[in-house]
């Protein structure tokens, strides 16, 4: 399953907190597309994924927006 999370107009660490809280509702293997406007998320969400065992599938930027796609890890 792929889900989307709107974390636009939020500053660090709110995009990470929203990601963390959404991932808690997902299953291992599920994917989450996170939309942010705080470019700090490009570092913070991958860092959060590394320490919690999730995988970053893609990071991109379009018109000032950042889109990060992650896959929930086995211990998700």
């Amino acid at each position: 399953m792929r889900q989307q999370l709107d974390a636009r107009n939020m500053l660090c660490p709110m995009p990470v907190i929203r990601t963390q809280n959404t991932v808690e509702t997902l299953l291992p293997g599920d994917e989450l597309e996170i939309y942010c406007t705080d470019h700090g998320a490009l570092n913070d969400i991958p860092a959060w994924c590394r320490i919690n065992g999730h995988e970053v599938l893609d990071k991109s930027e379009h018109n000032g927006e950042v889109i990060i796609t992650i896959r929930v890890g086995a211990n998700g």
């Binding site: 107009n9 907190i17 860092a47 959060w48 919690n52 000032g64």
Partner: protein, 347 residues
């Protein structure tokens, strides 16, 4: 086989919590980090908005510390619950609107609840006796342990040797002999320990981790409460206090003026909740009006908006104004003269 003991560590992202956690990890304890987001944290917000901060490293120090330590980090939003600490601190404020002692007690209490819910054994903080004037004094540190309910399950590894033994020490879960007896505001012992442990990259102390310790920020928050006639706030309020020039020409409204493109872009995200305006005949900032401005106030705000744009020396500037319903109108105004803006209008 002895039971694997587990500790939860309050991770701020600074050096002290990094060292305290490392000392316990090195004793074979399973540690997970917890980081509380109050809305007032300096961490994160200050590096994301202004143009001048573009080249600063955009990292969340708490996440970075957790990664260096190889531990999990749980970031917890306590914005709503934290209001009561800011608005009604039992132990009062510090030099500004910083309720440090209540804050620490609250965070340790939340950590205790987290610990109990997950069957962890004790709590670690990076506190050092005598380091902070209110929350880290020999006489107030026991208050935190007692009021949080953590009692002797609260271990401060950086100064444990100069404090009474805690449960993890008494039970032999940790070796008291390997803990420290740091005290005071001198940071050299922490830096020496960091070097000994091979830690070279860590956040430098930079005047606190909370906007409430900042005089200018506290003044803006007090102004907000005075203007609204009630001591309350939401996340948007406290975020907007970190951004732009705040100018209150009359008690019923204030202007929030973007200072550069970074701030203008940030304010754009909030513009539909406010009457907002910008100079349309010249380049200039986005301005939000907070409060209940009438038509005279909007005229004055338009003149001030013109003053902060490229048209400040022009005879006439056209200012486009949007109300909260999305209606738009133009006003042609004479820019307010900079020298005529009274100093006390700046919040």
């Amino acid at each position: 086989m002895s039971q694997q003991r587990k500790a939860v560590s309050l991770i701020s992202g600074g050096l002290d919590s990094l060292l305290a956690t490392r000392l316990i990890l090195d004793q074979g304890i399973h540690v997970e980090g917890i980081n509380f987001f109050t809305g007032f944290c300096v961490e994160g917000h200050t590096h994301a908005i202004r143009n001048k901060d573009k080249n600063k490293p955009k990292r969340n120090n708490a996440l970075w510390v957790a990664e260096q330590l190889g531990i999990k980090l749980h970031i917890i939003d306590i914005i709503e619950e934290y209001k009561d600490i800011v608005l009604n601190p039992k132990h009062g404020y510090g030099a500004n609107l910083n309720p440090c002692l209540d804050c620490k007690g609250f965070m340790v209490r939340k950590a205790r609840e987290w610990m109990e819910a997950r069957s962890f054994d004790f709590i670690i903080t990076g506190e050092v006796v005598g380091q902070r004037p209110k929350s880290q004094r020999r006489d107030t540190m026991p208050v935190i342990a007692k009021e949080s309910g953590a009692n002797d399950r609260l271990l401060r590894p950086l100064c444990a040797k100069s404090l009474p033994e805690t449960l993890p020490e008494k039970e032999g879960w940790v070796d008291r002999g390997k803990l420290k007896d740091f005290s005071g505001r001198n940071r050299k012992p922490q830096m020496a320990l960091a070097a000994e442990l091979g830690l070279t990259d860590y956040a430098q102390p930079a005047g606190g981790c909370c906007f409430l310790t900042d005089e200018s920020y506290s003044h803006k928050l007090a102004d907000l409460w005075a203007a609204r006639g009630q001591r309350d706030y939401d996340l948007d309020d406290i975020m907007l206090l970190k951004v732009g020039r705040h100018i209150r020409p009359r008690p019923n409204f204030k202007l929030i003026v973007g200072r550069d493109n970074g701030e203008n872009n940030f304010l754009k995200g909030y513009r539909n909740r406010f009457i907002h305006m910008h100079a349309s005949s010249h380049t200039g900032p986005l301005v939000l009006l907070d409060g209940t401005p009438d038509s005279d106030d909007i005229q004055l705000a338009a003149e001030l908006t013109a003053r902060f744009g490229k048209g400040k020396e022009a005879e006439q500037v056209t200012v486009t104004i949007h109300d909260k319903s999305g209606n738009e109108k133009q006003l042609s105004v004479n820019p307010f003269k900079a020298e005529l803006i009274p100093g006390n209008w700046y919040v």
